[in-house]
Symmetry: C2
């Protein structure tokens, strides 16, 4: 019998009625002859309430206690889904992170899964029971509860699928698959039947929220066949696999991602001296601050440079503090902050074979009169930073130009 | 350094503000030079919500999953109180039942503590940290979470105090001690400075709600000095110990308890044959139904008996079903149900030395024109069953007659 892992996100288990609906999805796989492991998130809203409790008590909270408090949400859902399954005649039991156990690194709130002990789990599955595993949580080697970071239940599911060599890992969420662009912005956005790991990884890294980035990396590493689908509809979702399953009519450009969660910082009038630029990057690196969309321009006044980059909005103030403290050493003049930017990315392995991949992009934005503030690219990704006010118009135009609109794709 | 155990009930940790207040009570004991173990209940209301989830999903729920779900409430409070302590400069960490572990019997929802492993706990206390232990929960030998029944956090606290040979176990609750009667009924009820285990046990068994009965039994067995007090007031509470600490001016009658949670059942026209009566008791015993206030009367029609007893209101319907099923075997005529009864108990070791302990009781009720439906007694307890409509009047009169009114006691 083959193992199947099914993961239900917070919006798919937000109420008792939804938990009962999830139980029916599990029942279908059991009746299809599979051994099923289910991974659950906390009921939507629960984790936020628990996080608020912790933050209201203490600004500089102990991360081990944060984990003890916040992990309780998944514990509740695991028990409730096991009960819902038993109630429709499917033997089931809940498993908490420490019960398997799922061993992680000791980095509370941001732990990584080290390895999963599947002996007891397999024993229980062989008795004909469904295993309902609390997602997002693990156990450190010193016996404390750890958590994997927001969205970590996706990673729990993929790690279990890898450890069990599962046939498939289904991620049930509130959208019915991966789209060519955010349907809230582009009405012509269409669902992808299939996408390869590397492209999905870029979509997630550049702002698509459907899957946690870590979980895709893990799936790619262990060749776990992922499917993203809705728990409330019967339509097939999006399959995420490696190249070998890609169809011959596979489209070159797969989709657009956008991120409104970054802000742009500019250091003005730096000496034209590459060691200063290196020092900026080095300094931020020391503080684990990731930057993107790095751009340097000659300042209008002549032989000085302006250095721009984006950082995640939640890191902006910390970054500003660190840079201001090093002002004398770095020798910049001003530190400017621009929160009104959006990063738009075109993603697809086809970019590698296109003659001049950026030509179409720049032409379109120029025709729309949209200013490009900076550019970055990789093998399968082209990103531009533009004013956030133009986001919707830019995404819609590019979606048409890259022939992603639904009528084009059929 | 001496160990002190402090237990905070649900109403004492119902909000973040109350959790901060509890932290200050812990800090005071730390500054007094004690090694402090704190036991917490779930925030008031949390356990009820979780129980409702389980019951709404399934009438005949799996008790192991009930425990997994419901135990999460104490986990949250333990983490939050540890954070509140750290925030006022007191090093602290949370401990869940499975982390110590607190080993219990495998009887989910009604487990008993078997033994507590205190090695890791003591190690941590010796590092100068306060231990905040999630109450109500334990670990079965097959690795599942168990719970100790409602009010079980009191038992967790006493068991830890016993295992650590603590100097004292303070139970913080929403009343400031044990009273001579329920102050809601008797305005002249006064707080007891001191009471012995056996009397406290009778008070709890006969309806006083301030402490879980199991926890008092455990305290008596291990000679744990208990104190019941309010987390919101600085006045001393009630100390519960064995006889040796009793003062010479110790009052003979200590208090009144009442229970409105029992109903009276009567089997009419049973054959006058003691083996039939034994069969009734035997039958209910087999089904673990506890009865009280057993009374048998000759029926008006002559040589038949009416047999009456009380059972807990939550067991009434089950009891009725069991008896009706055995109607032919037991040969009774009717099964009457009277929910409008109250049991009032006079409690105190002085009853042993009184000349005619029941005389005063019956005289008072007769003077008040209150009908006594049945009577039962032990060494230190006298109980009567009366119509519930007379409850308030009976309690107030008896409180005066037994010289328990506050002005009498001073």
């Amino acid at each position: 019998m083959a193992y199947i892992v099914q993961k239900f996100g917070g919006t798919s288990v937000a109420t008792l009625d939804l938990i009962k609906k999830a139980a029916l999805r599990v029942k279908a796989e059991v009746h299809a002859g599979h051994q099923v492991v289910v991974v659950v998130s906390a009921m939507a809203g629960t984790t936020n309430s628990l996080v608020r409790f912790v933050r209201d008590l203490s600004a500089t909270y102990d991360r081990a206690e944060y984990d003890a408090v916040v992990s309780s949400g998944e514990q509740v859902t695991a028990g409730l889904l096991a009960l819902a399954l038993q109630n429709i005649g499917i033997p089931a039991r809940s498993w908490l992170g420490w019960q398997l156990p799922i061993y992680t690194t000791p980095h509370h709130t941001q732990a990584k899964i080290d390895h999963i002990d599947t002996i007891a789990l397999k024993d229980d599955l062989n008795k004909g029971r469904v295993a309902v595993v609390a997602g997002f949580q693990g156990l450190s080697t010193n016996g404390r509860i750890t958590t994997l970071g927001r969205g970590g239940s996706d990673t729990t599911a993929v790690a279990l699928a890898a450890a069990l060599k599962a046939e498939r890992c289904d991620i049930f969420t509130d959208v019915d698959g991966v789209y060519t662009a955010d349907p809230h912005y582009v009405t012509a956005a269409g669902k992808l039947e299939h996408i390869v790991y590397q492209e999905m990884l870029e979509l997630a890294a550049q702002g698509a929220k459907v899957l946690q980035k870590d979980s895709i990396e893990l799936a790619m590493k262990h060749k776990v066949r992922l499917q993203v689908l809705s728990s409330l509809s019967e339509t097939p979702g999006t399959l995420i696999t490696n190249d070998s399953e890609a169809q011959t009519n596979y489209k070159h450009i797969r989709g657009l991602a956008h991120s409104l969660n970054e802000e742009r910082l500019t250091l003005t009038n730096l000496p034209q001296n590459s060691s200063k630029l290196d020092k900026v990057k080095e300094l931020l690196d020391t503080h684990h601050i990731a930057i993107d969309m790095l751009q340097q321009n000659l300042s209008p006044c002549g032989n000085h440079l302006n250095l721009s980059f984006t950082v995640s909005e939640i890191e902006v103030e910390r970054t500003q503090g660190i840079l201001q403290n090093a002002k004398r050493k770095l020798q910049f003049n001003d530190l400017l902050r621009d929160p009104h930017v959006v990063k738009i990315s075109v993603i697809g392995s086809g970019l590698q074979t296109e003659h001049s991949p950026s030509h179409k992009l720049f032409q379109t934005l120029r025709e729309e009169g949209i200013m490009v503030k900076s550019v970055s690219s990789s093998d399968i990704k082209l990103s531009v930073l533009i004013p956030s006010i133009d986001a919707e118009r830019a995404i819609a135009s590019l979606h048409t130009v890259y022939q992603l609109d639904v009528e084009e794709r059929q």
